[in-house]
Point group: C2
């Protein structure tokens, strides 16, 4: 097979997202979705946009949404780029800022889409090992490189990097772009957005999928200085003029207006995360410090794969990777209090009593 496939396509190993079950009803703690519904303001805006105007193309420049994001983050609209989920935004960053000749650096344990993007666009990369506690070592990121990509907080560990460390990365890489992927930042890490005006090589990527409970709407965005945003626009306009449909534009703008709701659900999830982490620790789990809406856990007595399977039998989906260094860990999305209670009870059946 693979007749007619391009060489690039033949060589790809695509990213595999977490399961989206279509039949049986599971407690879904496997794809870091928000357990709470999206803002009613967002839903109302979508319903209003669902009408005759769908016959017309959306605004290719997404001006209104970019203005709303600029106001939210105290930036200029020219410092904002929007795309079809932060995966698309990240992919366009790889095309816009990185060249084949110089290796991109990212941690060995991080969002596993980064090496896939690099392969798709024929870019070279080097995975820098995190330390034994999954902390980010700065030194290896400061040498000659073609760009740096880090997730803050990191996935799947949940560990946050300080703004001071981000500054060190930015100052140590004056010749290359540093992409900070802040998909989970609203659950407890410090955003690098306030550094944008000081560092011409900083791009911050965020998404509406997690904290704003809109994974089904596909809206991500990048924030950075106007020169970098112009590069993203140049690539995007060479790929697809209209990456956001009218409903996504309307819904995203609606969600931005509802700041109180964002604050309420992210605080609620953070507090659920913290008690669930305590409960799991008392059951003998090692639980890494998480600033995200998920926990990264391992148990000294039971293999993670056995826990994954046992939870699935009990109607609970979590995420596990058959990969070096993290084979003993599960990533568990923080759901509602009831879901986390059910998780703890199911795990209690799977691990020996302390």
């Amino acid at each position: 097979m693979k007749e007619f496939w391009s060489k690039r396509a033949k060589a790809l190993t695509p990213y595999v997202p977490g399961e989206q079950p279509r039949e049986r009803k599971f407690i879904k703690l496997n794809t870091n979705e928000n357990p709470y519904p999206p803002s009613q303001t967002a839903v109302a805006a979508i319903r209003e946009a669902a009408g005759e105007s769908l016959r017309l193309y959306p605004d290719p420049e997404c001006t209104s949404l970019r203005e709303a994001l600029a106001a939210t983050f105290d930036l200029k609209p020219g410092q904002v780029f929007v795309g079809n989920g932060s995966d698309e935004v990240l992919a366009l960053c790889f095309q816009a800022f990185f060249d084949a000749e110089r290796a991109i650096l990212f941690p060995d344990i991080t969002y596993s889409f980064y090496p896939v993007f690099a392969d798709l666009f024929g870019l070279s990369y080097r995975e820098v090992p995190l330390d034994e506690c999954f902390g980010l070592p700065l030194e290896p990121f400061l040498g000659n490189n073609g760009g740096v990509v880090i997730a803050n907080p990191n996935a799947p560990t949940g560990r946050a990097v300080s703004l001071c460390d981000i500054r060190t990365l930015l100052e140590g890489n004056p010749q290359s772009v540093v992409v900070v992927d802040e998909a989970y930042v609203d659950f407890g890490a410090q955003s690098a957005v306030p550094l944008i005006d000081s560092y011409p090589n900083l791009v911050v990527v965020q998404t509406m999928s997690k904290s704003r409970a809109l994974a089904g709407l596909r809206v991500g965005f990048a924030l950075g200085n106007e020169n970098l945003i112009a590069a993203l626009n140049s690539v995007k306009n060479s790929f697809n003029s209209y990456t956001l449909d009218r409903l996504a534009l309307a819904g995203a703008e609606g969600a931005l207006r509802d700041r109180d709701y964002l604050r309420a659900i992210t605080m609620k999830i953070s507090s659920t995360r913290d008690w669930a982490a305590d409960r799991l620790k008392r059951m003998g789990f090692a639980v890494s410090d998480s600033a995200a809406n998920f926990l990264f856990v391992s148990h000294p007595a039971v293999e993670a794969k056995a826990l994954l399977d046992g939870l699935r039998e009990r109607g609970i989906l979590v995420r596990w990777w058959d990969k070096p260094r993290i084979r003993d860990y599960l990533r568990i999305t923080v759901g509602t209090d009831e879901e986390m209670e059910a998780l703890c009870q199911a795990l209690a059946q799977l691990v020996p009593e302390v």
Copy 2:
């Protein structure tokens, strides 16, 4: 400027879509949108999908929509790929089927996004001149090449290619993929879909933006044998797991259910096109035979640019390109009868009486 841009990004000349005016109310005959609203079934399906489930990722495999498309076109779901507008689908085709070493062939006058895709992905291409009447010569497409892309009907000329000619292209290129871009096929050309089971090198790309009046929803699709569709999935899953949001999936499926409405509005637009073409001919315009929802016209006495500007002053937007061979032409989208009447009256003020 362009500090930190990748070499690729620095070299790009992005595609420029037709204007989407945000303020003044124009008669918009510039981007080939459908003048009629989308199917009510589509709108109802979107409103129903706008709710709590938006917190969850969409189905990354778009199974339900692919099944609906397969049923519509009498294919198997494995022969269907869906994407965020046919522009994205075409871009993924360029990545999935074409290599840098062998030149892709497409006409010199066609959808101007094709060379942009090729440049973005570092592919070489050769533009084959259409004949003097903008007809497609077959011979130059039959030699050694890295792939063929043709639009049927062609844009911006509106001219259709016969299925017999498509067969010749497919049989003359057993080693390379032939992409037939059928964005406008529902307005009067013959679709190549029935050839899919006979030709393993055929990919047909269509969109919901034109005949189904859903330009604002961003849904396109590719149809071809399962091996080619697998290549598209491989590339897409290395780029963005979820390219269609839940609302687009729901709306597209709703639109497919409403076959009578599709037939009604495409027939209405074709009949409006035909009388408008007659009227323009009687005003002295040369009008190419169009099987699409637009007319490609020129006038022996007045420059196209002057007509473009004169129409704009009169509140009517049409499309013009400052490019060799087509500088004397306007592309005019077929609107409602009232809009085309207004167009004819405005043009009557701009060209000498016959």
